[in-house]
């Protein structure tokens, strides 16, 4: 890492830490809860940014793992009365589900649009399934699944192994924002490892990767499972700031996450996170103003981006930055060159 990069990284970390700490002291509770929702959705977006943007797997199934994480957390927390083992179980369930689904998909050599169709179908099956759980017959232990209404009384997180101390919304913001930063750092680290390089290699040319002796199925399964675990973690946080319901599996969320990744920039990490925050803030503001349907505006934004800025916000900004700085750098290097 160059000195310049180290300085930029240090400044980013400091800015993120300052924002996380200061925010609850300067904004009202409603905004903190909203920010927590955005942070949890940003982790979901990051999972798709990894799976699709870096491994080339077009997955519509991230919301399936998101919903499973949320439901597993709510059901386990109600039954255990303590969020600590519930969180562990809620991470395990979507991870195992993603691993199993991924195994059948990748060993079945399902690729491209068919993969998208299968993951979307699985998500919609779960949506229908959880919608059909209304009534007393549908419960797991003490937790009634609640059908369309979901589980409104989703227990909030408590301090580890201390069920008496429930976290306040401000604390949950700290947890969600810190987890988002950790997830971002984790994905950055993952992409710098051999596995990360192989994910990118598969995105670029799966056939060549095979001819070099790497098994693409294993690498894609690893990426898909990691993405599933991240989406599950996002579901746990979401359950702590809203509540769990079949909406978590809905087409709306599935589409939104894809839109955020496209607008932020496929093949980037910070771009989709930025787009996730920005577009959710725009949607919330439009909802508040109540003069245009937020989803209609979101659709127009997506069309505008696809037509005018197809590579997304971050790559476009990067290109603009390069255009500005390259002539300056070139001039400097010409000046430095000794006279002939």
């Amino acid at each position: 890492m160059t000195f310049r990069n180290s300085v930029v990284t240090a400044l980013c970390v400091a800015a993120a830490a300052a924002t996380i700490i200061i925010l609850p002291h300067v904004v009202e509770l409603f905004t903190i809860i909203n920010a927590t929702i955005y942070a949890s959705m940003a982790i979901l977006t990051l999972s798709l940014a990894l799976v699709w943007g870096f491994c080339g797997i077009i997955s519509f199934g991230q919301t399936a793992f998101f919903g499973l994480g949320g439901y597993a957390y709510a059901v386990a927390a109600i039954n255990f009365g303590d969020s600590t083992p519930a969180i562990a179980l809620a991470l395990l369930v979507p991870t195992l589900f993603a691993g199993l689904l991924g195994y059948f998909i990748f060993w079945g050599r399902v690729t491209d649009v068919y993969l998208g169709v299968i993951t979307l179908t699985v998500t919609l099956i779960l949506y229908k399934l959880f919608n059909a759980t209304a009534g007393d017959a549908y419960h797991i232990g003490k937790a009634a699944l609640g059908g369309f209404n979901g589980i409104p009384a989703t227990p909030l997180m408590n301090l580890p192994w201390d069920r008496g101390t429930t976290l306040e919304p401000e604390d949950i913001w700290y947890v969600a924002a810190t987890l988002l930063c950790l997830a971002y750092a984790f994905v950055r680290w993952l992409l710098s490892t051999k596995l990360g390089h192989l994910m990118i290699a598969i995105r670029e040319n799966e056939h060549r990767t095979e001819l070099l002796g790497y098994d693409p199925r294993r690498i894609k399964l690893a990426a898909f499972t990691i993405g599933g675990a991240m989406a599950g973690a996002s579901g746990i946080l979401f359950a702590n700031c809203v509540f769990v319901s079949p909406t978590m599996f809905s087409l709306l969320y599935t589409a939104q996450v894809i839109v955020w990744v496209i607008i932020g920039g496929l093949g980037t990490l910070a771009g989709p996170i930025f787009a996730c925050f920005l577009l959710q803030m725009i949607t919330a503001e439009l909802g508040r103003l109540n003069w245009l349907n937020p989803n209609f505006v979101l659709g127009i934004i997506l069309i505008a981006f696809v037509l005018l800025m197809p590579s997304g916000i971050l790559p476009t900004l990067q290109r603009m930055y390069d255009k500005i700085t390259w002539p300056i750098l070139l001039q400097k290097s010409v000046r430095k060159r000794p006279a002939q």
Binding site: K194, A201, E204, R208, E210, L211, G213
Partner: protein
């Protein structure tokens, strides 16, 4: 004692629907040998490569690689057993840098701390150090060919298959490639598909001529060059062993 073959095919047949592209190929090369495979377009050379690398499962016949039957093996396991291929149309990672290509190939069989040195060595041997940070998608065709061969070499296979390695290269690049192939010959067995006869004379001793899915001829390069049959085949005057110009 008969020298040991690194690869051997027996009665290899590949059929696509009603079209028989390979019609019972019996082929073998020894450890450390360099063999050129020539023949007109449609002779079945690339299909033969695809069959022995596990990209296609042959309709009939068998393939033995390093004393093990690999007829039903997939491309990954054959590559892991030590076979590397440079495909006819360069198969590269267009969005990645040259160094990244070599690193991916070397990283498959080397320990983490050995990779950097191996990458530098390959970049040096192929004289592509100046391209190390270049994105492969932006390189000229000849350079892309060279990068692919370098990548295949970096994975250190026992048998290297090169499908038209000199295509699209400048005269200087072809000469450099011939030198490189001579260097590779010491440590690897090679099968090279090529159309450029001058290049073949620069690199090979033995040549196998493929025509309409069959082996037509197998001999020393000088004999093959003088052979009437080969001339007829390339001029389209011979099919199925009969002279079409007389029909």
């Amino acid at each position: 004692m008969k020298p040991k073959a690194i690869i051997e095919t027996q009665g290899l047949v590949m059929r696509f629907g009603g079209v028989e592209v390979l019609r019972g190929i019996d082929f073998a090369i020894e450890y450390g040998e360099l063999r050129c495979l020539i023949g007109p377009n449609g002779a079945g050379k690339s299909t033969f490569f695809k069959c022995i690398t596990g990209q296609l499962r042959p309709t009939a016949g068998s393939i033995k690689f390093k004393d093990e039957w690999v007829t039903a093996a997939d491309a990954v396991s054959i590559a892991r057993r030590g076979m590397g291929i440079k495909t006819q149309v360069p198969s590269l990672y267009d969005g990645l840098a040259v160094r990244e290509h070599i690193r991916l190939a070397a990283g498959r069989h080397l320990m983490r701390h050995e990779v950097a040195a191996a990458v530098d060595d390959v970049l040096e041997r192929f004289a592509i150090r100046h391209l190390a940070t270049q994105i492969v998608g932006r390189l000229a065709h000849g350079q892309r060919q060279l990068v692919e061969i370098a990548m295949v070499t970096a994975s250190d296979p026992d048998l290297i298959l090169l499908d038209e390695p000199a295509a699209g290269m400048t005269h200087q690049e072809v000469e450099r490639l011939a030198e490189l192939i001579h260097e590779l010959k010491g440590n690897h067995s090679l099968i090279i598909v090529e159309h450029d006869m001058q290049f073949i004379q620069m690199i090979a001793r033995r040549v196998t001529v493929l025509h309409q899915g069959r082996i037509l001829l197998e001999d020393d390069v000088d004999h093959v060059m003088r052979d009437e049959q080969l001339r007829d085949v390339y001029l389209g005057r011979r099919t199925h062993g009969r002279d079409v110009s007389k029909t």
